[in-house]
């Protein structure tokens, strides 16, 4: 159902280097600028980037008769989180996601109950990690990187899916956009991480499978790595700063970051 080694319908040859992949998608004159030194803090997005959102498909299959609706629900929730930021309003991500689920219910003529909203919340709190995640995080930690997360949803240190997956001990801190009441890709979210970690924005590398997140990170002065999971591709526009690393799994991204440490 969800194979991180597939891009679209095409299998990716494991031997293709990430740099080659990155440049293959960029037009002439917009080559990815490689990192020339290792960042000091790696900042991970969580939902979809580390955790497999497709685990929610059965809920959307039951509600809408179409498991793929999970992608529309998540996409609309991100769209409206951005709207909140642009209009200087803030609804906590869980409430917003519930509102978007009810909006989709109205659109499709399907009543959404409080039980359905609760089931969505429970499902989100129990998302499994993508298979490439546990090893990659351990290797990056072992190589001396400081690892943190930055999410739009509430941070759940001591519980939640990262704890359940045995990964939270690898994380120095878990940051949430709720603290600054502005959602990613607002500059304030990345600034909050830099400040709390005693680092400059240029010392942070944001790692996500969402180009919109990395647009904000790059604009704020961070470096960025795009995990090009199934259905993911960079947004390429003249003058738009691209992620320095683009690779199909976190495994390749971790390899490149570890090589930088040894360079």
């Amino acid at each position: 159902m969800h194979d991180p080694y597939l891009i679209g319908r095409r299998p990716v040859l494991a031997g293709i280097g990430a740099v080659a992949l990155a440049t293959a998608f960029l037009p002439r004159g917009a080559r990815a600028q490689a990192l020339d030194r290792p960042p000091s803090v790696l900042v991970f997005d969580v939902a979809e980037s580390l955790l497999d959102l497709q685990a929610l498909r059965p809920l959307f299959q039951r509600l809408f008769g179409n498991g793929a609706m999970v992608d529309e629900w998540f996409g609309q929730t991100i769209l409206y989180s951005e709207t909140e930021t642009l209009t200087s309003t803030f609804t906590p991500f869980g409430q917003l996601g519930g509102g978007v689920l009810r909006m989709l219910g109205r659109i499709h003529g399907i009543p959404i109950t409080e039980t359905d909203i609760r089931e969505l919340g429970v499902g989100l709190a129990a998302l499994p990690p993508h298979p490439d995640v546990p090893d990659s995080l351990r290797r990056l930690k072992g190589a001396g990187y400081r690892l943190v997360t930055l999410t739009d949803s509430p941070a759940t240190p001591g519980r939640g899916p990262l704890q359940a997956a045995g990964l939270s001990d690898l994380l120095e801190q878990q940051f949430t956009a709720e603290s600054v009441r502005r959602y990613k890709p607002a500059r304030e979210t990345y600034q909050m991480v830099a400040q709390a970690m005693g680092a400059k924005l240029s010392d942070l590398c944001m790692i996500a499978s969402h180009p919109w997140d990395l647009i904000g990170a790059r604009a704020a002065g961070c470096s960025a790595a795009l995990i090009r999971r199934t259905g993911v591709a960079p947004l390429i526009l003249p003058g738009l700063k691209q992620p320095q690393i683009i690779a199909p799994t976190l495994t390749e991204i971790a390899e490149q970051l570890i090589q930088l440490k040894h360079a």
Binding site: I7, G8, R9, R10, F25, D71, E72, G75, Q76, I78, L79, Y80, E82, T83, E84, T85, L86, T87, S88, T89, T91, Q95, L96, G98, G99, V100, R102, M103, R106, I107, P185, A186, R187, P211, W212, I215, G216, R218, A219, A220, G231, V232, A233, P234, L235, I236, L237, G239, L240
Partner: protein
């Protein structure tokens, strides 16, 4: 009773039928649903770029999002494909309820305007092709001076400043809740047309007028602001 005098229309999908671009997506991706994904991502990225203080014209973002979806699905697209999308987008016809709804509001004494994320050139082409360009006293584009996409406050402020009108006299009519949220933040009233695949978001500030087409919205605006 409220005091709306100026009605500002969103264009894409509010007045003009977005389904016109579906055949491009059907042909390229064999998936008519890809059109919805494209438009959703177009808005997601126009907002993300605006939050990141990067301004890129709307149709350029639309072309890049088409490229992105094609790359994600392993489909090759050509400049001709991108050109076909822009052409279809620039010649979307009005929905059948639009000409009558506009005429009724105009006859009731309201001043009518447009505010679009498109460039003035694309928007002019759309409304001229649709035969409704003369309904509007003036057309605004975020590309003119705001250089930030809706729902950034600067987009709505561009209109009120140009008209010298207080926000309480303004009403946005759109089919997108993210746009009515922007109007609300600007102190305007808003009407939401529930076009296909659009509805209210109950966690957000609610539009004053909600209806299935422009005539339903026009009835409510005239009843509340009768002049």
């Amino acid at each position: 009773m409220s005091n709306v005098r100026n009605i500002v229309f969103d264009c894409n999908e509010t007045l003009l039928d977005l389904a016109t671009v579906t055949p491009v997506f059907q042909r390229l991706f064999n998936d008519p649903g890809a059109m919805r994904l494209w438009f959703q991502e177009l808005i997601t990225y126009s907002q993300a770029l605006t939050i990141a203080d990067v301004y890129i014209p709307f149709t350029d973002i639309g072309g890049a999002v088409l490229d992105k979806i094609a790359a994600a699905r392993g489909v090759d697209i050509t400049p001709a494909d991108r050109g076909e999308l822009t052409d279809r987008f620039a010649t979307m016809p009005p929905y059948p309820d639009v000409p009558e709804g506009l005429k009724r509001l105009k006859a009731a004494g309201f001043r009518l305007f447009t505010l679009t994320d498109n460039t003035a050139a694309i928007s002019g082409r759309q409304l001229t092709h649709g035969g409704i360009v003369d309904c509007f006293e003036r057309r605004f584009s975020v590309d003119d001076t705001a250089k930030r996409h809706k729902p950034a406050p600067e987009a709505y402020a561009e209109v009120t400043q140009a008209l010298g009108a207080p926000p309480s006299e303004m009403c946005l009519v759109a089919c997108h809740t993210w746009d009515t949220m922007g109007a609300h933040a600007a102190g305007w009233q808003a009407g939401l047309i529930k076009r296909v695949n659009n509805d209210v978001l109950d966690t957000a500030a609610q539009p004053q007028y909600v209806g299935k087409d422009l005539n339903a919205i026009a009835d409510q605006i005239i009843a509340q602001n009768g002049r």
